[in-house]
């Protein structure tokens, strides 16, 4: 197949080179069924990967919304630097550890992978590249989740350092166990985690917990009385856009995890994912409304995220009817979880609740709702409690959760501890007060909010005076 591909590639390549209009290319000779099969699968998976990559924008906006205006620029630098560090580390070793063979603990091929290399016994080609990038996008999501608990006080330098360890070792290990044919396949008939409630979301949230324990709360979060106080984020609009982008991204995240278009099964996963998310919003909204008589906007969004996280593991294992139930429970759960956690520690975006608690619930829910049809189709684990009447799979799921949590927590805590004792984990109290934008990046993320316009005016910043002339030139003068 490689050679025929090369030949065809060459032929098309030449045409492409001469670049006669695409319409002429319509004469390109027909592809083989094998090629069409592979290329259709890969086209679907790469598009799904793009949606997952776009989730970075969702996480950025969600965190921005929950942040104060003095700490917004640093979020932008953070997401760019983290995503970049993860990209490089995934290529260097992350991918190899995760998918370079199906040994129990870790893979061993595909370091610094290049075209034609042998990875897990197969030559690395376009299909490999598709898979490489799709799985990288998951690693990047997991890393993005980590930082939700650390907003507004962590030192920037901590990002790349932990990012290197996380994308190069921690996540790849868990990904290998859960997605790469490793450890999780050995437990019972296998831990069911279709798209990563545990592998991706719990892993991220666990890193977030480790970071938070070493960081402590933001200045002013807890009053002298020890009571938590509201530190409202600066922009619900940015938050809302973030939630919608994440919701969209999840249509790549879960359905893309079919890794192919067989039987258009991806669409079933789409419907399951959407029903759960919807139920999550409804569950969270009703819960928060009945508890406080006001509809907290952030909670509506957290409900969506929590439900999407929860449905991630079962999305390929449950029938439609189970989705709203799983989502609804996640939505209710996240509200109580946020309220409970907020009393003890400072998790500005609710990452521990929306990704941690919901990730655990979602993984366990497979043990309850996985249908025989889909369990057989995936060939992983056994049907859930409601079908089998047995707690077996629930136990298997719990084991997976426990394994992932302990491993990630230990490795993450160690890493953050080292960062803390070496370069330091938290900025000075003054810098925290000043905001990370001005103290770490030399400029506010919203300069016009913080710099007196009378000083900016000499730089031509203030529209003030000229509103006068503007009137003269463009607007009707009205006698005052």
């Amino acid at each position: 197949m490689r050679r025929s591909l090369l030949v065809r590639g060459l032929f098309v390549g030449l045409l492409a080179a001469l670049l006669v209009p695409r319409s002429a290319l319509a004469q390109a000779d027909p592809k083989t069924a094998q090629a069409l099969t592979d290329e259709l699968n890969n086209t679907w998976v790469i598009v799904a990967a793009f949606l997952v990559m776009f989730m970075q924008a969702g996480f950025l906006l969600l965190e921005l919304g929950f942040t104060r205006g003095k700490n917004v620029g640093t979020m932008v630098a953070k997401i760019l630097v983290n995503f970049s560090v993860a990209s490089v580390m995934w290529w260097i070793c992350g991918f190899a550890i995760a998918f370079g063979g199906d040994a129990v603990i870790a893979g061993d091929s595909g370091f610094l992978v290049g075209f034609g290399d042998t990875v897990a016994g197969a030559p690395f080609d376009g299909a490999g590249a598709t898979f490489f990038f799709f799985q990288f996008a998951f690693a990047a999501v997991s890393l993005a989740i980590v930082w939700g608990t650390t907003l507004e006080r962590i030192k920037f330098v901590a990002y790349p350092i932990y990012g290197i360890v996380f994308a190069g070792l921690i996540y790849p290990l868990i990904a290998h166990w859960g997605f790469g044919g490793g450890l999780f396949a050995e437990i019972g008939n296998g831990v069911q985690d279709f798209a990563g409630s545990t592998v991706v979301h719990l892993t991220g949230a666990t890193g977030a917990l480790a970071a938070l324990l070493l960081l402590g709360p933001r200045k002013g979060k807890f009053g002298p009385d020890g009571k938590p106080r509201a530190i409202p984020g600066h922009s619900m609009p940015l938050f809302g856009l973030g939630v919608l982008i994440l919701w969209l991204g999840w249509f790549g995240f879960n359905p893309g995890s079919t890794l192919n278009t067989d039987g258009s099964r991806f669409a079933e996963v789409v419907v399951v994912t959407n029903l759960a998310a919807a139920a999550g919003v409804i569950g969270a909204s009703l819960t928060v409304f009945f508890r406080t008589k006001t509809l907290d906007v952030g909670m509506c969004g957290n409900g969506a995220i929590a439900a999407l996280v929860a449905i991630t593991a079962p999305s390929g294992y449950v029938e439609f009817w189970a989705a709203p139930i799983i989502g609804l429970i996640a939505g209710v759960l996240v509200v109580f979880s946020v309220y409970a956690i907020d009393k003890l520690i400072d998790d500005p975006v609710g990452a521990l609740s929306a990704h941690g608690m919901a990730g655990i619930w979602g993984t366990l829910s497979c043990g309850i709702f996985s249908s025989p049809r889909l369990t057989t189709l995936n060939g992983v684990g056994d049907a859930g409690l409601v079908y089998s009447g047995s707690l077996k799979q629930l136990g298997v799921q719990a084991a997976g959760v426990g394994l992932a949590f302990v491993t990630v927590f230990v490795l993450s805590y160690a890493t953050f501890f080292l960062i803390k004792v070496t370069v330091g984990l938290r900025v000075s109290e003054e810098d925290e007060e000043a905001g990370l934008d001005i103290s770490e990046h030399g400029m506010y993320g919203y300069p016009e909010q913080f710099i007196p316009s009378a000083e900016l005016v000499s730089y031509g910043a203030a529209p003030q005076l000229s509103a006068t002339q503007a009137s003269a030139t463009k607007s009707t003068e009205v006698n005052a």
């Binding site: 938590p228 106080r229 509201a230 530190i231 409202p232 406080t292 006001t294 907290d296 952030g298 909670m299 946020v338 309220y339 907020d342 609710g350 006068t468 002339q469 009137s471 003269a472 003068e477 005052a480």
Partner: protein, 122 residues
């Protein structure tokens, strides 16, 4: 000359401005302030935690006028500023020693007059 400083509700300002304008007092300055008085605070809720807000937004109106005009201004403010509910605000009158018009450098009470005559805008 006296300076009248009034802390009023936002919606009171427009009618006051219009009447003063009619009375020949176009010149005044306002700024956004937050005040506390007998009015109560409000409590906001956010992710389960609370934030209480004891200061309420008000408009501060400043207007320097000749001694003779003080009562007119004060009355206008009182007239339109009143809702009868706590939070209507206060008006204070303070002494002013001297006044200058930047554009011309002129000094003295006369610069406080309205000059109905047109003048180049800018």
């Amino acid at each position: 000359m006296k300076k009248i400083e009034a802390y009023i509700r936002h919606e009171a300002f427009e009618p006051i401005r219009l009447e003063l304008l009619g009375l020949g007092f176009p010149s005044l300055t306002i700024s956004e302030v937050k005040g506390s008085g007998r009015q109560k605070g409000i409590t906001e809720r956010y992710r389960g935690a609370e934030l209480t807000n004891y200061l309420r937004p008000k408009v501060k109106l400043e207007c320097v006028v000749a001694e003779a005009d003080v009562q007119t201004i004060v009355d206008t403010i009182l007239k339109h500023g009143r809702t009868g509910a706590v939070g209507d605000g206060k008006v204070f009158v303070c002494p002013v020693d001297e006044a200058y018009r930047v554009r011309t450098g002129e000094a003295g009470e006369e610069i406080l007059q309205a000059h109905p005559d047109g003048a180049p805008t800018g």
